[in-house]
């Protein structure tokens, strides 16, 4: 048996505890600051990391064989990386690599330690090249463009219900509609005169901006000149999650505002939401139905909590829900963190799987607030790629209804071998 180190590829606890890391300026990183920083890092719990939990379950099962022996779970010592050290056969090491798809399995030894350390560095780039665009290759867009495909999403508007959009980024500058809508403003002062949605839209109008950076990354994947799928699509910025946080109020308001805005913007046919609430929250469903009835397709992320989980509203049967794939060598696999489940809806008497389909969502480069590019992972990244492809379909068929649009997108999927439908739906989406 050999010694192996097994760890989640991207320790999620770090980002969950992001506010606790604030205040550390690495430029002035003296020894005292570093000690404080390490204190924070080492006090972070790994219990909320779905990949870590999946690793734990795999170890529990495998430990009963004589081929695996756990040596140390560094998390129990206050570690933050979720690393488990174990002795196992090479066969078992290959098995965990395949079965828990979002882990690094490294044979113990100094040479192999380079990889996880490198992961701690920033992926930030001022410029990107074609090697950073695996997500466009995976959906067949690079190949299609080589063969003359010129679809760009012209005439289509996508409402981005997110943290905002930074309109200064050169990739998306010409795509972002100047007026944005700050949903939080609607709830600040209670003014009965603002209750009508048409009036409200005018009262909460602001210049486009991003409060966090998430919405800018999302938008880049739809309409970015280099990183995006549909570079002529317009982005309508509804700031529903200021600094990454909103409520059901904000969601309901933002969804209904999209319908109101669609009256004066006929091209508004898509709403992209990379957010939700864990589990079944029926309260969120009626707004989805209203949107669909108004001829707008809502595209939702299913969440980053792994198998047998799905967030609302992405878990509902009516909208389009999106999971994430990653690339390993030349093979596409459902990412370990990507949510998916079989939903039994007793109320409506239906059983179905989510997500409906999957798209690239691991190490995906897109625009970041303030300029440049970073590679992020998540169903949040996969969702706008699907919105972008939907925009290409709408450009070609502007009069297509929502159900036909969903059908068209599902027809363009390729099932990934060895993954059940409740992990990938119809499979990896492709540009025709």
């Amino acid at each position: 048996m050999e010694r192996y180190m097994i760890r989640p590829k991207n320790p999620q606890a770090l980002q969950n505890n992001y506010p606790r890391l604030k205040g550390f300026d690495l430029k002035g990183f003296d020894s005292k600051a570093r000690d404080n920083y390490l204190d924070v890092l080492t006090s972070i719990s790994k219990e909320d990391d779905p990949v870590y939990r999946e690793m734990g379950r795999w170890m529990e099962d495998a430990i009963h064989t004589s081929e695996v022996r756990k040596i140390l779970d560094i998390n129990q010592l206050g570690g933050f990386t979720g690393t488990i050290f174990a002795e196992m056969t090479e066969e078992q090491a290959n098995r965990i690599q395949q079965e828990v798809s979002d882990v690094h399995v490294l044979r113990d030894g100094p040479m192999n330690l380079i990889d996880p350390i490198r992961r701690l560095f920033s992926t930030h780039k001022a410029k990107i090249d074609k090697n950073d665009l695996w997500h466009l290759e995976a959906i067949g867009l690079v190949e299609a463009r080589k063969h003359g495909f010129s679809g760009s999403g012209e005439g289509v508007v996508v409402a981005i219900l997110d943290t905002g959009i930074d309109p200064r980024h050169p990739e998306i500058r010409s795509n972002v509609v100047a007026d944005a809508y700050d949903i939080q403003k609607a709830f600040g002062e209670i003014n009965p005169n603002l209750r009508d949605l048409d009036n409200l839209a005018n009262q909460i109008k602001v210049y486009s901006r991003d409060t966090d950076g998430h919405g800018t990354h999302v938008s880049g994947l739809i309409c970015g000149k280099k990183v995006g799928v549909a570079p002529a699509t317009k982005m309508l910025n509804e700031i529903m999650l200021p600094n990454g946080q909103g409520t059901k109020f904000y969601y309901a308001m933002a969804m209904q505002l999209a319908i109101t805005l669609a009256k004066s913007r006929p091209g508004l046919r898509l709403v992209n939401v990379s957010a939700g609430i864990n589990g079944n929250v029926p309260d969120l469903r009626e707004d989805v139905l209203a949107l669909i009835e108004a001829g707008i397709l809502p595209v939702f992320a299913t969440g980053n909590e792994g198998r047998n989980t799905a967030r609302s509203p992405g878990r509902f049967v009516e909208p389009l829900s999106v999971g994430a794939v990653r690339k390993k060598g030349d093979v596409f696999m459902v990412a370990g963190f990507s949510s998916g489940a079989t939903i039994i809806d007793n109320e409506n008497g239906v059983t179905y799987n989510v997500p409906d389909l999957v798209a690239p969502g691991d190490d995906v480069y897109s625009c970041v607030r303030g300029g440049g590019y970073e590679a992020w992972d998540g169903t949040s990244m996969a969702t706008p790629i699907v919105s972008g492809i939907a925009a290409l379909v709408l450009e070609k068929h502007p009069s297509i209804g929502v159900q036909d649009l969903i059908g068209e997108l599902l027809r363009n999927c390729e099932a990934l071998p060895d993954f059940p439908e409740n992990r990938q739906g119809g499979g990896l989406i492709k540009v025709v």
Partner: protein, 149 residues
């Protein structure tokens, strides 16, 4: 605060507990689901088809207007009743859900209205946090600080 059986039936658990414990004038944010009315006018129940319009855009505009009319028909009396309780509802344009902010007494009073079907507390709606490299998180934290300065 004491709730009657029919008021309990209309509330979800978090709101029920909040109302029972409520003492002061602090405001609650509550989502109310309003009841549909029986019967619609001919105009509201007319089935619209894209083929009846010169373009899909025209069809959709008509569809949205029809949705507005249908919802308004269903809930206008209840909206008026809520306003008379000094609860000024948000939304209720395309769906039967409205958002109100008021004291526990006002919320309780709204539950007496036959047009209020269900009520639930507002709750957090989370961004699907992307999984980012620690270096990127630190870089953007520094960037944010520079932006503020």
């Amino acid at each position: 605060m004491k709730l009657k059986d029919f008021q309990i039936d209309k509330t979800n658990e978090p709101l029920r507990h909040t109302l029972i414990r409520a003492r002061g004038p602090e405001k609650l944010r509550v989502i109310l689901e309003l009841a549909s009315k029986q019967g619609q006018s001919d105009e509201e129940s007319k089935v619209l088809e894209p083929s009846q319009f010169s373009s899909y855009q025209e069809y959709r505009k008509a569809k949205i207007e029809q949705m507005e009319q249908a919802v308004a028909h269903d809930i206008k009396d209840t909206l008026q009743a809520l306003r008379s309780l000094d609860l000024y509802p948000f939304g209720g344009k395309y769906s039967h859900k409205v958002l109100v902010e008021g004291t526990a007494h006002q919320i309780l009073a709204s539950l007496n209205l036959s047009g209020v079907k269900e009520a639930s507390m507002d709750e957090e709606f989370e961004m699907d946090k992307p999984r980012r490299k620690i270096g990127d998180i630190i870089r953007s934290a520094i960037q944010s600080r520079h932006d503020v300065e």
